[in-house]
Amino acid sequence: MSDLFTLLNRATRALDAQRFGLDVAGQNIANVNTPGYVRRSLILQDVAPPDQQSAGGGVDAVAVVASRAPLVEARLRFEQPAASREQAKAESLSVVEAGLGDPGSSIDAELAQFYNTYGALAQNPTSGPARQQVVLAGQSLSRAFNDMSARFDEAQRTADADIRSTVTQVNALAAQLADVNRQISDTESSNTQGLIDQQTAIIQEIGKLANVGYITRNDGSVDLSIGNGRALVIGQNAYALQLSSSSGTGFATITATGGTPTDVTHEITGGRVAGLVDVRDTLLPSYRNQLDQLAYSVSTDVNTLTTSGYDLNGNAGLAFFTPPAAVSGAARLLTVNPAVAANNALVVASATTTSGNNDIARAVQSLQDTAMTGTTTRPVDGWGSLVYSVGTDAAAAKQSQTAHEEVTVQLQNLRDQVSGVSLDEEAAMLMKFQRAYEANARFFQIASDTLDTLLSLAGHS
């Protein structure tokens, strides 16, 4: 039997345990917006009775545990870099896409205007104003190509500056992680939960910038690697990524310094850095190449005709555009031949020495409806193809970003639902959800087949 003192002691212990529980709840509420904070739970344990005549010794708070879900965290670390990579691409490409201008008011309009002024010249091959209109339209078209090429240059420089700034952030976070690792190694194991929260938050932040591999050590510290296993953080040491400018383009290359210095610029496949590198080194050069090809073909086809004809004075025709030396750089360097620009009598309209002939003017006008030399596309379609490429890439990046973000939200929901509940509760929740999903998944194949049938009915019957 318990005496009065024992009963009071038991009640006090219970009150202490419950007060501690309120403290833990308060801590959870206070940190609801703290990055990386994981909900804490209080573990209570009954106190064994001192003898067989006693019901028990009350309750004790024995531990505060953090409700972590390592498997979900690992999946999140996989999804976040992919979402960030696509986000960076979508952001950059939306700027490029806006710079292309609206259909009918960009290079397509300049092309149409240029060919049409040759059409007007064909109506009156000796007209000074008509010749001047051709020169002005040629200059306007050249400027449009020059500006567009400059926009691509600017987009590349912006991506490069963003890469440099992002790598600096990665280095700062790596240094922070090394410091947290040091604190975890130096701290009693019971006091490391807050540090592990910080560690998790830092790794998540780094993952948004660049995908990293990680290994947790026995003492709780985490090692990070980048690219193909290059050291970024080993225990208490951070190995900062170095930025240098490449000799050709001046763009940043990223070198891992843990071990033998290695260029990891193209080894980083996830996170913001990967998206920006893809835009800078793959997508924009591809668009520029299409633009250069278009400028080269348009100017070369026009020049081929004008050099086969005669000017107003019956002299052999000059190239209308300054002949491009190569495809590369053709858009950036496109100009009307300075001699022609200075004297519109040098504009070529005639196929003979007779000044009233308009064969060349008509032939140049008809180039707008003819496939460019060496291609199967008309000039305006060449521009349309470039616009389509940028639009498709931007839309694909946006769509992929949304897909990865949805999976990230799903995983966060999963983490929140399973953390802090017992294994039995978690299993019940997961099984119910999985049964519900599988019930629908049975119909997905039928839905897919039905949609194929309907699509063929709608599109082809």
Partner: protein, 118 residues
């Protein structure tokens, strides 16, 4: 005079909405909504398979593409969930995932067995 709406287009419209609801439920992990959509999905697929003539082909084509996108989203989210849930369930059940010979072993259903005799 108003023409009756095209039943195939209406069914396709409802299919889109249902698949989009399933996708949303897969993000928020809402099992009740998922279970509710099962019967709707079954009815809609039966209705679409019944072979009505299509009057508004353009509208149908657009809806079918929307439904295909929604279906792809469901599959992606379902695969993501299953990857985690399968492993977690095996962990919860405390069952070995690999047998002695190294073969993968499916987790047995948890819960106590009840022997019933007549």
């Amino acid at each position: 005079m108003f023409e009756d709406p095209d039943p195939v287009v209406m069914s396709a419209q409802r299919l889109c909405e249902t698949l989009e609801r399933i996708g949303d439920a897969l993000v928020t992990l809402d099992a009740e909504t998922l279970l509710d959509t099962e019967a709707t999905l079954e009815q809609l697929l039966a209705a679409l398979a019944s072979g009505h003539a299509v009057r508004d082909r353009a509208a149908l084509e657009s809806l079918v593409r929307r439904a295909a996108d929604a279906l792809l989203r469901c599959r992606r989210l379902g695969a993501s969930f299953s990857a985690i849930a399968g492993t977690r369930l095996r962990l919860c059940a405390g069952v070995e995932t690999y047998g002695r010979d190294g073969e993968f072993v499916e987790a047995a259903p948890s819960g106590s067995a009840v022997k019933v005799s007549a």
